[in-house]
């Protein structure tokens, strides 16, 4: 049961990365002047359900909370500063999309474009850095909590902070992957010059790539959830961080219908809006 929820949470997080990923990635293409002439690059298309992608973050976070409360508590409180930074970046991105279109002014629009682009860039790096930290392990103590400074001297030594050259590198890797993903999404949406089918295949391959990388990272650490760099016995595992058995069982009762329904209306919306 714990393993099942581990898979479900991994899928939700991977789903979020694939969906918000092209949103994060495509806006970075704004820096290319040729890309800017393509109609899909501006941040807020009227028919753009980018808010829908954040739903996956909320749902994924909530699912993680109830299935593995000890992991949720330890990791989020230990990664307090990066989490706050990520939250601010999400806020900036969200309001940039929304406010951008409300005043037609040569000063207003670029400010929100810059906010969206800058926020997306840093967000990609922070997500990657988070993954790097989780895989490497954190100094969990006996009570199950840890503290790390945001950075120390950027060397990947035993006294490394959350940001050092290694985790920043994983962040840059994430940035590159998401930018490629975003670019492929634009290529898929733009009629020329790539033909429809090859653009679609390229984008789907990128989705598969992201899902594959993330799930293999997840299964690489399985059954650990958050490895401890102090003493392996203190690691948070699928077994010791999970919620009670009744909770995990009953969770399936609303999770499965909920996800099926969500997929159903997402498909319905997509058909109505993007079939052209």
């Amino acid at each position: 049961m714990e393993t099942l929820w581990f898979c479900l949470v991994a899928i939700m997080i991977a789903g979020y990365v694939v969906l918000d990923g092209f949103d994060i990635g495509r806006v970075l293409c704004i820096f290319s002047s040729r890309a800017r002439t393509l109609k899909n690059v501006p941040c807020s298309l009227p028919s753009d359900p980018s808010d829908g992608n954040e739903v996956w973050l909320l749902a994924g976070g909530g699912t993680l909370y109830f299935a593995f409360p000890a992991l949720y508590a330890s990791s989020f409180s230990g990664f307090y500063l990066p989490i706050m930074i990520v939250l601010w970046l999400l806020i900036v991105r969200g309001i940039s999309i929304e406010f951008r279109g409300h005043i037609a002014s040569p000063v207003w629009t670029p400010i929100w474009d810059a906010g969206f682009a800058g926020g997306s860039l840093l967000l990609a790096i922070f997500y990657g850095a988070a993954l790097g930290n989780v895989v490497r392990g954190v100094p969990l103590d006996a009570s199950g909590y840890f503290f790390l400074p945001l950075w120390t001297d950027f060397r990947a030594s035993s006294s490394a902070g959350i940001l050092d050259w290694y985790t920043i590198l994983t962040g840059v890797a994430a940035l590159l992957a998401l930018t490629m993903h975003g670019a492929l999404w634009i290529a898929m949406k733009t009629p020329a010059p790539m033909s429809g089918l090859s653009a679609l295949l390229a984008f789907l391959s990128s989705c598969a790539y992201l899902v594959g990388m993330l799930t293999s990272a997840a299964f690489g650490v399985y059954p650990l959830l958050l490895p401890a760099s102090t003493d392996p016995a203190l690691s948070l595992t699928v077994a010791n961080a999970a919620a009670g058995s009744y909770g995990l069982h009953i969770g399936l009762a609303w999770f499965i219908p909920g996800m099926l329904l969500s997929a159903a209306y997402a498909t319905f919306t997509y058909r109505r809006f993007f079939a052209d």
Partner: protein, 412 residues
Amino acid sequence: MNSALAMDRLQFAFTVTFHYLFPQLTMGLALLIFVLKTMSLRAASESLREHYAGAARFWIKIFAVNFVTGVVTGIPMEFQFSTNWAQFSRAAGGVIGQPLALEGVDSFFLESTFLGLVVYGEKRLTPRLHWFSSLALFAGSWLSGYFIMVTDAWMQHPVGYRIAPNGMIELTSIRDLLLNSWALWQYMHNMIAAVVTGSFVVAALGAFYVLSGRHQGYGRTFLRLGVVAGTIAMVLLILPAGDRQGRMITAYQPATLAAMEGLFQTVQGAPIVLVGQPDTEKLPLDNPITVPKVLSFLTCQRWTAEVKGLNEFPRDDWPDNIPLLYFSYQIMVGLGTILLAVMALAAILLARGRLDDSRARPPALADIRRDAHRGRHFPPSLIGQRTVHTARLHGSLHGAGDPVFVPGPAGD
């Protein structure tokens, strides 16, 4: 109170308060937009159909901006449960994680999908489908509200759980969790309050348009809709919703009741305080103006009932910050009374057909819109209470001195 705890509380309180301003309006507007769409669908003439559709279109734009701001401020909320209250999340996550995840998976997907259809889909959908989308949006947002209320209701009145051998709290009955009696009344009170907020905003804007002479047709529609919905909502907010919530607090959280009513000593035939400042050092209220026996009647339905004062409870069980709780509550009640009076007056004028002409009422409605939002500041003071109450839950189960609730980023 050490400074880490104070900082955690301040940050969490700020996030809740700021976030909550937006869903409050979202949920209220969702209902009113649905009403406008229904009126449009059922309109007798083409021009009326277009008039109501136009009114709905206007409020949908405002709804969309408001919704997005609610989302971006709501994501920090979800994460701050564990960044700020890590020990609590670890212990209780198995229980409260369920309704929070339920909200994310079952209702948030619903409302955000249909939001897209409502905002962008008018031209691509039939009127009936667009109307249905507004219904789904309303249902999704109110369902979200329910799951969030269930979470808070469990913190106020824990049900359906057991303490596992490893100290974590485990859910034993999802039915008990979702049908928590506290949740039902809190939900009703909360949603009706959202309708009040929405009504006041709609009425205020309508009043503005009528007074300024622009878009008078729409202005009159907004004014009517806002006043009718607002009057019904204000009445229901107090009776039965507010009344029932008060009775639940009396039954399950008597110390909170005593603190918020400023009742330091147990009394038979307890008075209700209209004005007064609690002094926790010297105990009696300073400068009180009271109405005798009313509190006994409201809480126990008998004029001579005994109401427990704070003296009945050990000092450790007293709410942390009595003046904050007391003043938040009293201000809420005061604002509620004012809001009710304004709406009632507006309703009378409307019934007499003189609302549009009255210059006094509409400006008052515009000012009141701000105050309707301020009335919502009551919940944050309950957050201070949560630590007390859930700590008491743990205290009674683990024994005093159990250092469960010393929240802080690193669990210090």
